[in-house]
Symmetry: C2
């Protein structure tokens, strides 16, 4: 995550491009949006729908969004969430691959795809950042596939909470209060579970002393009392660097 953008920049100096657009001196993707008007959205409002022509790129200024697809029979799959600072709409060709909705009220800025492409094409730095962005997206898609492919309900939930924990600062005692801005149904559709299983699994984790719901009225804030236990239960125990090269010897399959 802290790696320098190496790709497409290695030969940046080979390009001597006339920099004429308003974005020419932009050094990161966010600065592209700086002059765009702020747009306010209400809860449940959509940025775009799956299959729509991909006309804009969006920067999330405030709030949380869900990315999802609907199957023929009504099943919904949430493929990701967006938080303040995220950018969406880059990794598209002609059409959006998924729909995006604000979970609660939110603020965004938008750029036409054309303007975005223009700015990126003129800057080696931005090209590299776009490439990096795509790689990050791929990496988290991979992680999600691992989660969905072979983790139990408890492992899925712990992984989910852990990801949120890592976006949060600890308090003095090394404990965390994490905000879960989305409703249970969204968590379920994201983790490939039902709302009931999510609820029950949270209850079980509370029973184990790993979690506390801060305020029964506001269930969107959860305190992590045992971060280490949470990481343990998440299942990807340091990914087992040593055995990757000779997994054949262990030979075992273990559960789905």
């Amino acid at each position: 995550m802290e790696t320098k953008p190496v790709f497409l920049t290695a030969y940046a100096n080979a390009h001597q491009v006339a920099k004429a657009t308003p974005f020419a001196e932009a050094e990161n993707l966010h600065s592209l949006f700086a002059k765009q008007p702020l747009e306010q959205l209400g809860a449940g409002q959509s940025l775009f729908f799956e299959g729509d022509e991909a006309k804009h790129v969006f920067e999330i200024v405030e709030g949380t969004f869900r990315l999802f697809r609907i199957l023929g029979d009504g099943r919904r799959v949430i493929t990701g969430f967006l938080y303040a600072g995220d950018i969406v709409g880059i990794s598209m060709k002609d059409c959006y691959l998924y729909s995006v909705e604000a979970i609660a009220s939110a603020k965004i800025r938008r750029l036409s795809r054309r303007a975005f492409q223009c700015a990126v094409a003129e800057s080696e730095i931005l090209s590299a950042l776009v490439f990096e962005h795509l790689c990050d997206e791929m990496a988290s898609a991979q992680d999600q596939m691992v989660l969905l492919s072979c983790k139990s309900a408890e492992e899925r939930l712990c992984t989910f909470l852990l990801r949120h924990m890592n976006r949060t600062k600890a308090d003095g005692a090394g404990r965390f209060v994490i905000e879960i801005p989305m409703p249970r149904q969204d968590m379920a559709d994201y983790l490939g579970l039902t709302i009931e299983t999510v609820s029950r699994t949270i209850t079980k984790l509370i029973g184990k002393g790993v979690l506390t719901v801060v305020d029964p009225a506001a269930r969107h804030f959860i305190k992590v009392d045992k971060p280490a236990a949470l990481a343990q239960l998440a299942g990807d125990g340091d990914e087992c660097i040593d055995m990757r090269r000779d997994h054949a010897v262990s030979g075992g399959r273990r559960r789905h």
Copy 2:
């Protein structure tokens, strides 16, 4: 899939780059590899391992490969397969995200990452192709997440077979003989199932008259007797274009 590369090309003419490298006139990613020596690999041989420094980009000339990650306790997740003509190693930052192994004997060509980057940075056409490649990878990762998130064993298997069918030509009678080059265990690890469930589900589909195993000795060739039924059972019934915009009204969840 038949869309023109729009991204990073829109302003291609703004760049007047001195094209001096051997790759300067390359018009597609494969031509980059044309002059590289052909390498032969045996069954089970690795191209690289998850976590290795990403030093090369590979073109698959012949054979099939599995992309996978190993979890701490030995569970294996196959995140994808590679077939002749595919390219792997682009969507990486410093390190490979997964390991890649030849399923049977195979042939590849490789390019150093540096050379690849160099060539791509000098050509607008190649840049656009790389971007397109990444978008395709994202799209199939999304599809896989949908599959793993909410499809039953039968739907998963039918989806898998359907994907292979679409890479194959029909015979005169509109039927298909598809080759499944990987063993059952690989299918299982890819579909988030066990080998037993894969086997049982195939048997069930044969019972329904949808499939025939061409030769009990060579189980890697499967005849699709009812392609329409297979598509039906795969579950993503034309993705329900109409209801995407108003899924709220249907209100229903349906099974995981």
